[in-house]
């Protein structure tokens, strides 16, 4: 039973300047709550500056299930109103928001009734001799406001290695707790977590790296780029421990080239990047497609074109992922919409790339990649089917045909170094043997082979998620992180029976399940975060859409709010 004065779901905003310790504060609070069983998501918002720019997090704690942060915040901790104004839209205040803040606002801010000015820096100086731990003082206040269990907090700090930094900061934490009591601040209590088991905290970038490690990725090559760098860091950490090849290359062309080299040598390999890096990798994607070389590329999308807004989310690389490059170069494009999907689809990417000998582009985005999520770790422990590349059946074969035309168009592939199965390949049009060829028949036949071998993927119904009212003739198609807001908004509006939602995780080639979904509805809404409606255009190019099709597509740079989606969703469900 939920006590009446307790809430099952609270959204906490934290804002300040870079260097105020906003992300550290949010992360500690998230982890302390996770240690008591609370689910949470914590997207990060930051500007271009390394230090001193606006920095904010929005932590949504939930006692029952994983949910999205609300549009506005229930609690706000603010270290700088000036920086808050840069991120005001993400952390909107309501009249009943509880605000704790350090300095008086300059103007332009209308403080809600329950606002309290607290001297975080002063308390930090009193107990630690420096203002540096003001964020920890604020942490002490916040955990009291939320009424997290004090005993369990102490226990978690003692045992959880991710919290060991807090062990040295206990005086600051306690100073915050005292501050809360001294001023008799109001509480905004969380209900006890329904499932008290400790939740794991990770973001999509980490989930993808962990999946790659799990599936036996044996070589990683990358070039630093926002917002994908965490994948590279995670792989670096792991591979330096296990002495596997990890290399920061001179550019993304090289990263992708090295992936191809390692893959030919029989080692599962991967690179990660964002849009500008995907541009540079494009010629290698063409080579991997033409010469049928397994390759996994993670693209954590950010605002484009060109440099765009590097730190903010957008879904605008879809065209490039599907079509990028000259010539007809088929490849597979997958897109997860939540952190579990980041893990599962990264495993799937390796399986597909190995089995079908094709480049796979795994489209994540800044929101998925950098939002810290506290969640049950079951999905990281369960078994997943893993497919490997088909090896030639005969081990010593002078007549080995690397590109043999088989029934399923997949030709057994030996690894460079294998005895008796030597072949030569090329980005030139080539024969079954891999020898360059310059005639139409061979060229056409090899195109057919490369396209047709991917056809079985269209039958992968389990890579299309369909939610909501089966009987409904109103449908929404959305993809990537946008799907989370769409699903949450549909639920909040009580429209789960009135509208069904289709989230294709496999986008190219297009699964038949998407066509079946489209065939079952009369009204369609496509929701995506890019200006031109790339998914909508892609769907139109592939299949018939209902006569009444609406598109809600806008550029990235700001997460979708439930408020803005309410109109289009209500309209389509009507």
């Amino acid at each position: 039973m939920v006590e009446e004065n307790r809430r099952s779901n609270i959204t906490i905003g934290i804002a300040g300047a870079g260097g105020d310790g906003v992300v550290v504060l949010g992360s500690f609070l998230q982890r302390l709550a996770a240690s008591q069983g609370y689910y949470s998501q914590m997207p990060r918002y930051y500007g271009a500056q390394i230090r001193g720019g606006g920095s904010a997090v929005k932590l949504c704690l939930d006692a029952e299930s994983l949910s999205m942060p609300k549009d506005s915040v229930d609690v706000l901790a603010c270290f700088s109103w000036e920086k808050y104004l840069e991120l005001e839209r993400e952390l909107a205040l309501r009249a009943d928001t509880l605000v704790i803040y350090e300095n008086e606002p300059q103007g332009g801010i209308h403080l809600p009734e329950k606002s309290f000015r607290l001297d975080f820096s002063g308390r930090s100086r009193e107990v630690t001799g420096a203002t540096l731990n003001k964020n920890i003082v604020a942490l002490g206040v916040l955990e009291k406001i939320l009424a997290l269990s004090g005993d369990r907090i102490k226990g978690a700090i003692e045992t959880d290695d991710e919290l060991k930094l807090l062990r040295k900061k206990l005086p600051a934490l306690e100073a915050g707790e005292h501050l809360f009591s001294e001023l008799s601040l109001p509480e905004l209590k969380l209900s006890p977590a329904q499932d008290a088991s400790v939740k794991m905290v990770l973001h999509g970038n980490a989930a993808m790296a962990q999946a790659a490690i799990r599936v036996g990725c044996g070589a990683f090559f990358g070039y630093p780029i926002t917002p994908a760098a965490e994948i590279m860091q995670e792989m670096h950490k792991e591979f330096s421990l296990n002495e596997k090849p990890y290399l920061q290359s001179e550019d993304e062309i090289t990263s992708a080239g090295m992936v191809i080299g390692a893959s030919l040598a029989g080692v599962k390999s991967m690179t990660s990047t964002s849009g500008p890096g995907l541009d540079l990798m494009t010629e290698m994607i063409g080579l991997a497609s033409a010469a049928e070389i397994p390759m996994v590329i993670i693209d954590v999308q950010r605002c484009g074109p060109s440099t765009g807004i590097p730190s903010k989310s957008e879904q605008s690389d879809l065209n490039h992922a599907i079509y990028g490059g000259h010539g007809d170069a088929p490849r597979v494009v997958l897109a997860p919409y939540d952190v579990e999907g980041c893990y599962r689809l990264a495993i799937e990417s390796f399986s597909i790339s190995q089995y079908f000998q094709t480049p796979v582009i795994l489209l994540s985005d800044q929101w998925l990649g950098q939002t810290f999520v506290a969640i049950n770790d079951e999905f990281m422990r369960k078994d997943y089917p893993i497919y490997e590349r088909k090896m030639p059946a005969i081990k010593d074969n002078e007549d080995y045909l690397r590109y043999q035309l088989t029934e399923d168009f997949i030709s057994p592939m030996s690894n460079v170094g294998d005895e008796g199965l030597i072949y030569r390949t090329t980005g030139l049009t080539h024969t079954e043997k891999g020898t360059p060829a310059f005639n139409f028949e061979t060229h056409h036949r090899m195109h057919e082979k490369r396209w047709k071998k991917l056809a079985p993927l269209c039958q992968r119904d389990n890579l299309v998620k369909v939610f909501g009212g089966e009987e409904s003739d109103s449908g929404i198609i959305t993809w990537g992180s946008s799907a989370q807001v769409v699903l949450e908004t549909v639920k909040e509006l009580g429209l789960r029976d009135a509208v069904k939602v289709c989230v294709p995780e496999l986008i190219h080639p297009l699964p038949l399940e998407v066509e079946r979904f489209l065939g079952s509805i009369k009204k369609l809404l496509v929701v995506e975060m890019n200006y031109s409606g790339q998914l909508h255009r892609y769907l139109r190019s592939q299949t018939d859409l209902p006569e009444k099709t609406e598109v809600y597509a806008r550029s990235g740079g700001q997460p979708f709010s439930r408020h803005e989606l309410t109109g289009p969703i209500t309209e389509i469900a009507r």
Binding site: E250, G261, A262, T425
Partner: protein, 272 residues
């Protein structure tokens, strides 16, 4: 000992009669690989794009004719993944010094154990005769040798040795396609060298270079032999010096001599 024929495939080269690439193909398949006794399946040859980059199809090892300028990138990936492989990256002067030039300093710096063979024919031949970064001037300030209207960039060998200075570990050599035994020896030494090795191969282009270019090079060629005196044009004041491939300073001096004045053949520098 393996049969020499073992290293050639049945594929007929596309090259013109008189092309220097035949010399390189022979050096690799008839001498270097058989002499070293490296099993075919343990060898991986990655090329870029251009006349010389067709070579993997003609050699019976694992091979990839990849993308213009990117052989070095792909070769490093393969070597890192499977260190037991002998990995050779090959291509033309356009591959190594123009479109793929950005990869070279990093390959040198990392000192990954691959052997790069640059077939330098001073011209873009596959596209029918445009200047390359190695197209020589007759004299500084004058037009390029190929009487094209464009101006070529920097002296490539100088760059290679400068790069290697920062690593202290590399192998830089120059051979000539018309002296197959010597070229094969350089390739063997390059493959045996534990670290990044770079071999420039002076090559005639029978179709797009004026015949005088290669005949001057061939006539003036000077072999560098360890411990033997070398004849640098401005050494008269210092007296004779003996070639020492371990001396990076000397390698720099050698590289600064214009190719048309005195083309040196041999190992310029070999670090530890």
């Amino acid at each position: 000992m393996m049969q020499t024929a073992d290293y050639r495939t049945g594929v007929k080269p596309i090259w013109c009669a008189g092309c220097g690439n035949y010399g390189l193909l022979n050096a690799i398949t008839r001498r270097a690989l058989p002499n070293l006794g490296i099993p075919n399946h343990r060898t991986f040859i990655v090329s870029g794009i251009g006349c010389s980059s067709r070579i993997p199809a003609y050699i019976d090892t694992y091979g990839l004719n990849s993308i213009h300028g990117r052989a070095v990138a792909i070769a490093q990936g393969a070597k890192l993944a499977r260190p037991e492989l002998t990995v050779i990256a090959t291509g033309g002067d356009g591959d190594f010094f123009s479109i793929g030039a950005g990869h070279l300093p990093h390959a040198v710096r990392r000192n990954i154990d691959i052997t790069c063979i640059m077939v330098n024919n001073f011209v873009y031949a596959l596209t029918k005769g445009q200047v390359s970064p190695t197209t020589p001037h007759l004299r500084r300030g004058e037009g390029p040798f190929l009487s094209q209207e464009f101006y070529p960039p920097v002296d490539p060998l100088l760059d290679m040795i400068s790069y290697s200075l920062s690593t202290g570990s590399s192998f830089i050599a120059q051979g000539i396609a018309t002296d197959v035994p010597h070229l094969a020896w350089l390739i063997e030494e390059g493959i045996k060298h534990r670290g990044f090795s770079f071999i420039s191969v002076l090559t005639p282009c029978a179709t797009f270079s004026p015949p005088e270019l290669f005949s001057i090079i061939k006539k003036k060629a000077v072999y560098l032999r360890e411990g033997e005196p070398i004849d640098l044009p401005d050494l008269s004041r210092e007296g004779a010096r003996l070639h020492d491939p371990g001396d990076i300073g000397m390698a720099l001096r050698l590289a600064q001599v214009s190719l048309l004045e005195e083309p040196f053949l041999g190992i310029f520098f070999q670090g530890k």
